[in-house]
Amino acid sequence: MRAYVNERGRIGLSGLRELVLSGTGPILGVGLALVVSAGLILARGVNPLVAYAAMLEGAFGSVAALANTGVRAAPIILSGFAVGLGYKAGLWNIGGTGQIYLGATTATIVGIIPLPVPAWIHLLIAVMAGFVGGALWMFVPAYLCAYRGVNLVCTTLMLDYVAGFFVSWLLHEPSPLAEKGATFPMSPLILPSARLPILMEGTSLHAGFVLAVVLGVVLHFVLHSTTFGFRTRMVGKSPEAARYAGIDVVRWILLVLLICGGLAGLAGAGEVLGLKLRLFDYFEGFVGFEGLALAILVEGNPLGMILAGIFFGSLKAGAGKMQIVTGIGTPMALVIEALAVLFVVAIGFGQRGGVAQPARKKMRGEKR
């Protein structure tokens, strides 16, 4: 960030200016969403201030509440990175759901096998397995998109559903991954040596949250200060210029997408190794799509996603309390999230981000 004199002779701050610009949109969208939702709450005969107060208390009002917020925020943030990084490269990764499932599965596989290594190494391998699982699930859509120009949105979306069914199959006996004699399809318990450490005594807040925050900072650094980030942003802002500059756009897209898959895989690994401690049938909920909403909201900026992810997490954590106090519950959280995205989009900050099919428009005879 530095100061400069702009064309109107006024002092501007580059870097901060960009941050603020990208901040007002989502803040405005969220604000409008909260206002409209307040109206909806009012229509139900409930005082919106009471409802929101209950929500705040449920999200931030006690140590347990804070932990709850953090726990819910972590996978959404990680899933958001998976979308956001792709967004910076000009692509839409809708495969968060599937990548989360696969990442959770591979992490589980490692997590239930006793390994003759110190606990922290077991954990490390399990987490890395989660990354690999997510990346693997991304491979086919990424290849088709980069090398054949096939619409990434369609392929990743389809595989989201396949993943759910696939994992479900793996959790039904007689699969080796299924817990024998269970009433509900699930995996065996994750071994203690492979579990993510709990950050706050007595809560469920696990190291996955720290991972999310740290990764966010790392991603921010990578995007703005490394050659990797520079290349990615160039490909996202102008694939033609990137080709002109000698970048193998096709290969780069494949690489970035695989990393995106891995990031979502980490979200799944976090859930399994930190919170649920087993792989459950259809455990994912909407985390994948919420990550997508997150990325849209802040245009893929990692630091923004940490903040917005905590916001989403607080919505869900607070919804429980709100339900108890006012009778209006979790669906409202979804409504607020949805309205926030819609308003942001309508205001214009969600304008078409980049090229959806970068490999499609090739010049005749161009060297691929």
């Binding site: 909806l40 139900r44 839409w92 809708i94 086919v140 859509p141 088709l144 054949r148 096939v150 619409n151 949105v153 369609c154 392929t155 979306l157 389809m158 595989l159 559903y161 396949v162 069914f165 696939f166 479900s168 199959w169 039904h172 909407f286 799509f289 997508l292 909403a293 849209i296 209006i328 519950g329 979790t330 669906p331 409202m332 959280a333 979804l334 409504v335 607020i336 999230e337 949805a338 309205l339 995205v341 819609l342 989009v345 309508a346 214009g348 969600g350 304008q351 078409r352 981000g353 959806a356």
Partner: protein
């Protein structure tokens, strides 16, 4: 598998396919004009709730259906405005609307049925009782709710409109080369807008079929991603209304099959049949369907200034 099991399966298959087929009628049109509309999932869901609510309040299935059409269409109007008028990302808009529909229907469900699940009237079965006992055809064709009949007839009507009328021609052209349409002096905006709203209306109808055929109630998130199967069917059916409807029937049959397999047990896990539509779609997109079939401007904004 004996005959009665077979007919039972096929009858269920057709019934399960009906919501998909109805949704696909509109979805084909809106993808043909170049808009990706994933909010049909949301339209289907609000349609289901509206159908149940309308029938609950008035006791009349027809009113319920009209409510479903209106609800689904209304959601799509937002999508149409954002994508056609404001040129925002189709994906973003559709996704947000789905979230909205999910939250809104959950809330609405809690409002309508706070304690127990009341059941409402369902679609009457159409077909003379005598014919119903005809082996094989009887139950499969004649033991179906009236909405299923509508679902089976509409693809033919839709196909006629698409290929034999000037409206259909405009729609087919707009998604392929909007400049050709513009230079022929026609509007590019209206066919796109109407097609998107129409897809919402059809998805609403599909939702009412889902809720009011045999079931008579609404459950939160009862669509469960069915509308995405329709998107898959579009690809496999190459955006031809009859072929797409046929794909939906196949998926319905697979759905009915996997339900039965869960009870009977089989070497092939039932999840495989659930996966099938999605896997086939990916394969189709990867190149076993001619590239030509995809509407060329699917997903792209229209820039009248471009050459």
């Amino acid at each position: 598998m004996d005959l009665s099991t077979l007919t039972n399966w096929l009858q269920a298959g057709v019934r399960l396919a009906a919501p998909l087929v109805l949704t696909s009628i509109g979805s084909v049109y809106n993808e043909r004009v170049g808009i990706i509309n994933i909010s049909i999932e949301g339209s289907m869901l609000v349609g289901a709730l509206a159908a149940v609510a309308g029938t609950l309040i008035t006791g009349n299935v027809v009113i319920g259906t009209i409510c479903a059409l209106a609800a689904g269409g209304l959601l799509a109007v937002v999508h149409a405005y954002l994508t056609v008028a404001r040129n925002t990302s189709h994906l973003v808009s559709g996704l947000a609307l789905n979230f909205l529909a999910l939250g809104a229907t959950n809330m609405g469900f809690a409002l309508l049925f706070p304690t127990e699940r009341a059941r409402v009237a369902t679609y009457p079965v159409l077909g003379p009782p005598e014919l119903r006992s005809v082996p094989f055809f009887g139950p499969v064709v004649f033991n179906q709710a009236v909405i299923v009949w509508i679902a089976l007839i509409l693809p033919f009507v839709s196909s006629w409109v698409l290929y034999r009328t000037s409206w259909g021609l405009n729609i087919r052209a707009v998604g392929e080369d909007p400049h050709a349409v513009a230079s022929a002096g026609l509007s590019v905006f209206w066919p796109k807008f109407v097609a998107v709203v129409f897809s919402g209306v059809c998805a609403g109808l599909g939702g009412s079929a889902l809720a009011l055929t045999d079931l008579g109630y609404f459950a939160p998130n009862m669509t469960g991603g069915r509308a995405f199967v329709v998107l898959a069917a579009n690809v496999v059916g190459k955006w031809n209304p009859i072929m797409v409807a046929a794909s939906c029937l196949l998926y319905g049959a697979a759905d009915a099959l996997q339900l039965r397999i869960q009870t009977f047990g089989s070497p092939i896990p039932y999840q495989f049949f659930l996966m099938l539509p999605y896997l086939v779609t990916v394969a189709a997109l990867a190149g076993f369907v001619g590239r030509v079939a995809v509407p060329k401007t699917l997903g792209e904004p229209y820039d009248p200034e471009a050459i």
